[in-house]
Amino acid sequence: MIRVIAAAAVVALFADDYLLRFLAEILLFGVAVMSLDILIGFGGLMSLGHAALFGGAAYAAAIVARQWGGDLVLMLGTGMATGLVLAAVMGVVVLRSGQLFLLIMTLLLAQMLWEVAFHWRDVTGGADGLRGLPALSLGPWALSGARALFLVAVPLAVVAFLVARSFIAAPIGRALVGTREEPIRMTALGYSLFAVRFRAMMVAGAMAGAAGALLPFVNQYVGPQSVHWTLSATLVIMLVIGGIGSLWGGFIGSAVYLGIQTYLSAYTDRWQLLVGLVFVLTVLLLPNGVAGGVRRWRS
């Protein structure tokens, strides 16, 4: 942990603005992927609507920020509250179904949110999205600029990681894995599958919401693409590349994906082919992603 903080401090001191902002974006996406991992990796709940939580919180934060300014505490509060509410709605609707039904229900729900964001021009800016956001601030200090954003994103990622790890290690987390592996036995043991899964959903919603709240400040913009199902699919791709079932794999996955997309696309139009190949090869060769591969190689 100390090494992580030291590394972050070094990066914050020496990296340029562009790189810091890029790293902050990777961290925010990483947190969202990690929260998705709780659902997919530990709960076996194949959601294709996670961008609704992540992007929904981004919209809420942007709307609140335009009204009352970009106070960090307010933003995180708004984001987490939005994430919780959306996760609760999604949970109530989808968690009684399983497998493909859950996948389609999350997809449909998320697309409904996209429809709202895309068409409610007065509030969300419609297809053009919202711009002209105030800078992020903490009390009297303005947190504008890439370095400040990075210095906010690092602790957020660390805290989110610790929360996720303790959730997974706690009895509720073990129960969640139980509902994935042996739902019938878990029911027989007196667990309510719905209650366990719903709690996982809430934790994931709060985490994705907190990360989403900062997303508008990376680009000073939020638009309907942030709640579109393709972003949900992108989060799944990041999760798989990083490693399903490994919390820190989420950060690796988002770094690999965003790295390929950002750096390769200037050299070749075929970068999507490359993303596909990396993805399929990961599924075929490293079923537990890069994180799983690293673990196997170490042991």
Binding site: D16, D17, Y18, L19, R21, F22, E25, E115, F118, H119, R121, G126, A127, D128, G129, R131, G132, L215, V218, N219, Q220, Y221, G223, P224, Q225, S226, L258, Q261, T262, S265, A266, Y267, T268, D269, W271, Q272
Partner: protein
Amino acid sequence: MKLPHQRLTRRLALGGLAATTLAAPARAQARPLKIGMITSLSGPFAALGESMRGGMRLLLTQSGERFADRPVELIVEDDQARPDDGVRKARKLIGQDRVDLLCGVIHSGVALALRDVVTEARMPTFLLGSANDLARRAASPFILRPTKTNWMLGSTAAQRTHQTHPGARVVTAASDYAAGREFVGDFATTYQGLGGRIGRQFWTPLGTPDFGPLLTAIAAERPDSVYVFFAGSDAVRFLRQWKEYRLAGRIRLMATGACFDQEDVLPAVGDAALGGINTFHQSPTAPSSAAFVEAWGATGKGLPGEFSTTGYVCGQVIRTATERSGGNPTDWPRTQQALFDAPVETAFGRMPFDPRNGQAILDIHVNEVRAVDGAMVNTVVYTFPQIRDPGPDA
């Protein structure tokens, strides 16, 4: 993607030597002019983005990869028609590739998202994309816009309808998103201002697979004329089904140019587009674009559409900016002033820039789709000269 070579000529070497002793302009001459282009090479606008890049490349080739004797290096980045990706790419171009100028963008959301980023970075930008706001509330001193706004096409379509069919009852149908709302809104306001009657207004989701229900509803309305905005695959499906449902010929069809785009739509719909009227700043038969049309055709790509022309024009404007600023367009106030002072001759015609918002003033053509040697061609039947967006006054 191949990057243009950096030529290490004696001139360049001498320039480098001179730079240590001589004044700043000499140094600027030696260093290549780095232009960053952001466009959609994947996602729904992939074909348009390839055209835009192709137009720009053609101009660079014609100019010998040099503007005002300064070598030009073009770096093209893909925004996938997603604002967040577009902004990340813009930051990379600005922060890591250290480009001198930015240009490009098809998707209006990307353009609006870039607005604050380039303004904050004080990066001279030739921003395409056509949302009205780009010439209004989102105008920026660092942005010049060598393309249309949606208002220019919507309002002229209303004027044209009033000219040719005064009193016609017009029903509208459009994709339900920002651009569609702007085109139809500007059309309806202008048309009603001229005393015209607007009937029902239909909206369909972006990416509608089946236009049957809409076309049946339009047929039941029996309007004199329909004004539509669809683009890309929506336009292709709409026009083909328009013909399948036998509305072609029975109801007059008026559209924004994108619905009949010469490159993107017409080859796919064939004679289903025949007779369609549209207002557009681009036409392969416009006299101003004749030279470009020939050069584009010589590359084996057929007739150019909006975005190949836009890419080419954007290059022409940047070339002129470089020439007028003595090879140093990054001296932005001077460059801007030079472009405001005199119009630029482009493939879109004579293009003055409005000093209030950096928006181009354009000729808007009324095109009719006619069969020429079996191919569908947007043929200019009338031109509204030098249309200026109301800009901050709107």
